[in-house]
């Protein structure tokens, strides 16, 4: 009986569903009139929402600036650009679905990357399947670049390079002090996610190269609310270097608890200092922390869209009310790379654009961009900065260093 009623109403329900679904079919395709539309699923909510915001602002600033400069000229015609956003809620399952949605339902042919390696790992197989070019600035895991992906291009340095400079710097300092680098002890505490596990792999490789001993090698849970267990071990074992990686939440957690527990360690190196705004949050408590960065405003790069890196830094602040962390800069650069490839390809054919992307040789405010066969950018180095007197100062590699590193950190 129950069933009878249901089946009675089903045809109508089906029709309503079909109607609702078909009404969501957008009219915009890849190029609508004189506007080129990019698709992007970014983390607006969830654990990556802070960095998702940086990513979006970076994309938006590029769109605004490129449009203000007259847009993109493809085959003699000027186009404006726009981005269709979706919220992937920081979950890979959602990101993969949205990538399908962008390509299949919105019929968008150009995809900008999400924030983070895990999400990029979920999106890349989809863009590959449909042969849709994706340029991304926030998926650094090296596992993205050993798959033979042909449509994935990343403007940033891969994640295993993030903190290796810190290990080399410590070795350098040890040699200077007349100690053998192999006498140094390393403590590693990284989040259990694709990005941070790669950061760890890079550190382990370099530590082994110097013969350093790894005394702590902890995985932190994704919730990242507490790392006192690790820090208690640090207090007991007194390593020379403590490396922490866990996106913005990890940076905040490390700096906060190192202070709270008065952990004395000669070198504290973390990722995502700027994105997490540890200086603003902890002030003097963040002093002497070493921070890995893809880009700094003090670098001497420049381009015609944004001027120098410093110009970009100030312009971004004028619009969004905060200084851009590198996550924003690399997102902006992703759009620049895409647009440059379109202009060179002279058409909206995805294959032509893919080939043009592969042949990219572009100087931007963010740095030089030239892709390897695998799609990652090898032209741009990582930089290590230290918080000295409340300011981030480049300390390594030596060609970018503006001040000598403070080592060891003074005891608290």
């Amino acid at each position: 009986m129950l069933m009878k009623t249901i089946v009675k109403t089903l045809p109508m329900a089906g029709a309503v569903c079909a109607l609702v679904l078909s009404s969501t079919l957008p009219a915009n395709a890849k190029v609508e009139g004189d506007t080129i539309i990019f698709g992007a699923a970014v983390s607006f909510t969830g654990k990556y929402s802070t960095n998702g915001k940086h990513t979006k602002n970076g994309y938006d600033l590029a769109v605004e600036r490129i449009n203000a400069k007259g847009g993109v000229t493809v085959a003699g015609k000027d186009y404006k650009i726009a981005i269709q956003y979706y919220d992937d809620e920081s979950t890979p399952a959602r990101a993969a679905q949205l990538a399908e949605k962008i390509i299949q339902q919105d019929e968008i042919k150009f995809v900008l990357g999400p924030y983070g390696s895990g999400l990029t790992k979920a999106v890349a197989p989809v863009t590959e399947k449909y042969k849709i070019p994706m340029v991304e600035g926030n998926g650094a895991s090296r596992s993205l670049f050993n798959k033979g992906y042909k449509y994935l291009f990343a403007v940033l340095s891969t994640s295993e390079q993030y903190l290796t400079e810190a290990i080399n710097l410590a070795a350098e300092q040890a040699t200077k002090a007349g100690k053998d680098p192999s006498s140094l002890k390393v403590a590693i505490a990284v989040e259990n996610d694709p990005f941070s596990q790669d950061v760890r792999a890079g550190i382990v490789d370099d530590a082994n190269k110097h013969g350093m001993q790894i005394v702590i090698d902890d995985k932190l849970p994704k919730e990242l609310n507490d790392m006192t267990a690790t820090l208690t071990k640090v207090k007991a074992l007194r390593p020379d270097i403590l490396v922490v990686s866990g996106h913005s939440k990890g940076a905040v957690l490390a700096v906060r608890q190192v202070n709270e527990m008065k952990v004395n360690v000669p070198m504290l190196a973390v990722t995502h200092c700027e994105a997490a705004d540890v200086i603003g949050k902890f002030g003097a408590g963040a002093e002497n922390t070493l921070c890995a960065t893809q880009w700094t405003e003090t670098m001497s790069y420049e381009d015609s869209d944004f001027g120098t890196a410093m110009d970009y830094y100030n312009d971004f602040n004028a619009i969004y009310g905060y200084y851009p962390p590198y996550q924003a800069a690399e997102s902006t650069a992703s759009v620049q790379v895409f647009v440059d490839a379109m202009e060179r390809a002279g058409s909206f054919d995805t294959e032509a654009i893919r080939d043009a992307l592969a042949a990219t040789d572009l100087m931007t405010f963010y740095g030089p961009i030239k892709f390897t066969e695998a799609g990652n950018n090898m032209a741009k180095p990582m930089v290590l900065r230290q918080i000295i007197n409340g300011k981030l100062v480049a300390v390594a590699p030596s060609r970018f260093a503006s001040e000598p590193v403070v080592y060891p950190r003074p005891d608290m």
Binding site: M3, A96, P221
Partner: protein, 346 residues
Amino acid sequence: MSRKKLYLLLLVGLMLLAPVLMPAFKTQLAMLMLMITFALTWDIMGGQMGYNSFGNIVFFGTGMYVTAVIQRDLFFTAEEYESLAGSLNIINGTDYLTGLFLGLGVSVVVCVILAAILGAGILKLRGHYFAICTLGLGIAAAEIAAGIDYIGAGSGLVPPTFPHEDLGDRGYFFYYYFLTLAAATFTVLSWLYKGQFGLAINAIRDDEDKAEAMGIHTTRYKTLAWCISAFFLALAGGALGNMVGFIDPTEVAFAGATFGVWMVLMAILGGKGTIWGPVIGATVFHIMQELFWTYLFGWQRVALGILVISIVVFFPEGIMGFIRDRWPELLGHKVDLKSSKKGSTP
């Protein structure tokens, strides 16, 4: 042919044609079928038996991992695969299907055994104690999976890429897979609910002590019910890992905060303890969710929250319960108007 059969046939036809009519929505439609399976399998325990389980996601995630590991280990060593995973064309159609279906088969066995073992242990608990225990189970499973290097730990595991050159469009493949799964779940459950099994678990819901006193082996039935959930969830998880293409321990496999909660919500929204309730609940929930995501961008979670609150406040018995209260005659219940006017309760 009766009207009922005709409509059912129409529905089946519509479902079979849906991805052809709306090719751009294949993935969403496949997700809808998954949601229906989620709600139906949750309702076995949560609705028909009155045991609120928040741990069903354990079987889903286990199925996902077991399938992917079999797919990997059948043709590769773990190290070899590490550098290949996610690359295109690493596996041909025959090998892919062999790996997938063998993996699904093994994961069903593993999950059913797991349900039997876990069930024998914790199904002696009742009410809130059982709910909390299963909640812990889901979280523990995610943490354990995130710590095992063999299955990729926190970096996740990538199932072999679908060989679309051999097998055609992945979207169609997974849609029809999930459609078959949802239909099979529905058919098997409606058949089971009509028989002794249905009566027994309903008796447990209504009064477990009395049921036991009547001679029903309650723990046996409870464990059996959980094993049936595990059976279908293993099949769902194994395929979803392949459809998403990236298995993350906490966000995709043991996704308690999303799938784990949704399966409860959908069953309650539709009306728990009925066979059509979970189907309707899942459909409404999934369509609402997709619409919110598209049209209430940035506010989708708020909208979803409001939806959930509205359900609980206005439709505590779900959509089916609401219909039963308002228009009982629609569902074939006979209403004695005279006595109901007098205000007598049955």
